[in-house]
């Protein structure tokens, strides 16, 4: 009996030792992940915020100048138009691209013929690599008679139209190409949600005498409302960061009509050699997006609570 406390003590000791070894080994194994996340995400984010208050000589921070970079970025005559352009990207992408994925997902789910075929064919645009798709659309919109759209106009005897060079609608045209390459991913997401709507709900609606349109209105849409809301916010966040599209298709033109904040940042940072301005603009974009992201997280929590 007298040895009992000793054994107990030893057991606790061994347990502690095992736990400590587990801790050390765990951290060693986790280290690559932590280092990579630190070097690639956390550190550049913090450094970007710090260096945005410095005057940069090439890519080396030179002297602290407070908020002067920010003032210069905001005072730039192009700043407000660019911000407006970015909002227009988001606006048009919601007008053009928000509904098609849901509608198509719902429709495909109703089919008993070629269901998989439709899914596969409609997914194909998603597979075309980003730049290839952008170049493709660049040629579709080509302003002389070799472009696909002008080819059709010519068939109807209409003169070639300048498409992307028409500054009033450049953003709309770019958004159409973005929608083409991106809708399938969202569609598949919706499809999973549509599929999980229980058919009992529909049966109940039928017994209550609801017609097809009423079934959409009172069963399908309410069941999808969570996903619809989340996709809405997610789309805003992702389109707000558009860079590659103006870079590849228009170079921000004509006359800056399709320059987005992201593309402006790229130009500051890598074309005009004004890294400080790029980072100041980065911080501004960061705050806009983090606000939207927090909103997204809040909605996400609410949506998850409801289901």
């Amino acid at each position: 009996m007298s040895t009992q406390p000793g054994i107990e003590k030893q057991r606790v000791k061994v347990k502690h030792k095992v736990a400590r070894r587990n801790n050390i080994e765990g951290w060693i194994l986790m280290l690559p992940m932590v280092i990579v996340l630190y070097l690639m995400i956390w550190r550049p984010t913090v450094m970007g915020a710090i260096w945005s208050t410095f005057r940069m000589k090439g890519y080396t921070p030179h002297e602290f100048i407070g908020l002067r970079n920010y003032i210069e970025v905001v005072k730039d005559t192009q700043f407000l138009p660019t911000l407006w352009n970015t909002v227009m990207y988001v606006f048009w992408s919601l007008v053009v691209g928000y509904l098609p994925p849901v509608i198509l997902a719902i429709m495909i789910n109703e089919m008993v013929h070629f269901k998989n075929g439709f899914k596969i064919v409609l997914y194909l645009p998603q597979i075309v690599p980003g730049v290839a798709a952008l170049l493709m659309w660049y040629y579709i919109y080509y302003p002389d008679s070799s472009g696909l759209l002008n080819f059709f106009l010519a068939k109807f005897g209409i003169d070639p139209y300048i498409w992307l060079n028409d500054g009033r609608f450049t953003i709309l045209y770019i958004v159409i190409s973005m929608t083409w390459s991106g809708f399938a991913g969202t569609m598949v997401l919706y499809y999973a949600a549509v599929q999980s709507i229980s058919s009992e709900l529909y049966e109940a609606a039928i017994i209550d005498g609801a017609g097809m349109l009423k079934r959409v209105r009172y069963v399908t849409i309410p069941q999808l409302s969570g996903v619809l809301l989340l996709t809405f916010v997610r789309q805003i966040i992702s389109v707000f960061q558009v860079v590659e599209q103006p870079l590849v298709m228009t170079g921000g033109g004509p006359n800056g009509a399709s320059t987005s904040l992201g593309y402006q940042l790229y130009k500051y940072g890598f074309v005009n050699g004004r890294a400080g301005h790029a980072m100041a603009l980065g911080v501004i974009i960061f705050f806009i997006l983090i606000t939207l992201t927090v909103l997204y997280m809040r909605l996400n929590k609410k949506v998850e609570e409801n289901y």
Partner: protein, 305 residues
């Protein structure tokens, strides 16, 4: 028509399909989908066909189809464009780049997920929170500071050793490994594997690394396949970072190469179209092989952090 019997109650229900109105609704939806498919595919088909036209044909624009559709002509078109575009080197580069990204992502994110799910050392919750927040970080602020750090890795100045990562694949590999979303995917999947597997393996004298490679990875095939497909297809459409980092022509990857070729005026129109096709071939092959996993895999991807 017999297929209608397999239809479940939905917006269009089996009882509707017996009425005229229901049939019309069903077939008009069908027609709409068919039309959308054609409409969606049309641009891609146009590019494919234009690749086989000569540039004069492209400009005169009388017909959608190339004049000469013989196999011989098509082969010469393909071979000629391949020679002018010199895509061979960039294709190999893209394979190297995508394989590196894939291996690094699987190892770094996978082991990270394993530690967070099964070992849970002290501070796990804190790291998990950080990883979650990492996923939410907007990316654009990072581009310039990252570029600066790649110029003289790992720190800007006054460090005992510094290496320029420009003109290496490391920036691309490292940034694809820094993927918080995939860490969480792995963690959630590993959570569903019972702890008893790990304990049994430990009793048999397995270390944590061999548990990860010999037990966890084989048991998590769906997620490994999903992450592999995602990072491979991403590598083939990755543009921005490679465009900034790989300035040496010998290291260029396919998407960047066809973008730069599109800007030079010496390349003929049909060759440019061919370039677009060449750049899409490998992603299409990946899709053809893993079609089920890609379209069905979203339920895994839909796991929320």
């Amino acid at each position: 028509m017999n297929r209608f019997s397999t239809k479940q109650a939905g917006i269009i229900s089996p009882s509707d399909l017996k009425t005229m109105k229901g049939k019309i609704a069903y077939w008009s939806v069908f027609a709409f989908l068919l039309f959308t498919c054609i409409f969606t595919l049309f641009p891609a088909i146009w590019v494919l066909l234009s690749g086989f036209k000569d540039s004069q044909e492209i400009y005169s624009g009388f017909s959608l189809f190339p004049r000469d559709m013989s196999l011989e002509h098509m082969m010469t078109c393909i071979v000629d464009s391949w020679k002018t575009l010199e895509l061979g080197r960039s294709m190999i580069n893209t394979v190297i780049m995508s394989m590196g990204s894939l291996c690094l992502t699987l190892i770094v994110c996978g082991i990270g997920g394993y530690v967070l799910s099964k070992m849970k050392p002290r501070g796990t919750n804190f790291v998990l929170q950080l990883v979650l927040w990492t996923m939410m970080m907007p990316g654009q602020l990072r581009t310039v500071p990252l570029y600066i750090s790649w110029l003289s890795f790992p720190f800007v100045a006054n460090f005992p050793f510094e290496v320029s990562l420009i003109n290496t694949y490391w920036p691309i590999w490292l940034s694809s490994a820094a993927n918080a979303f995939e860490v969480l995917l792995f963690k959630h999947y590993f959570d569903s594997i019972p702890m008893s597997y790990v304990e049994a393996a430990k009793l048999d004298g397995c270390g944590n690394l061999s548990i990860f490679f010999r037990i966890m990875m084989p048991l998590s095939k769906p997620i490994v396949i999903y992450v592999s497909i995602m990072s491979l297809t991403y590598a083939w459409s990755n543009f921005f970072i490679p465009y900034l980092v790989l300035q040496d022509k010998e290291l260029q990857i396919t998407p960047v190469r066809i973008y730069l070729l599109g800007q030079s005026s010496e390349i003929k129109m049909n060759v440019r179209f061919m370039g677009i096709i060449f750049a899409s071939v490998v992603p299409f092959l990946i899709f053809a092989f893993f079609q089920k996993h890609i379209i069905g895999g979203v339920s895994i991807g839909g796991v929320k952090g």
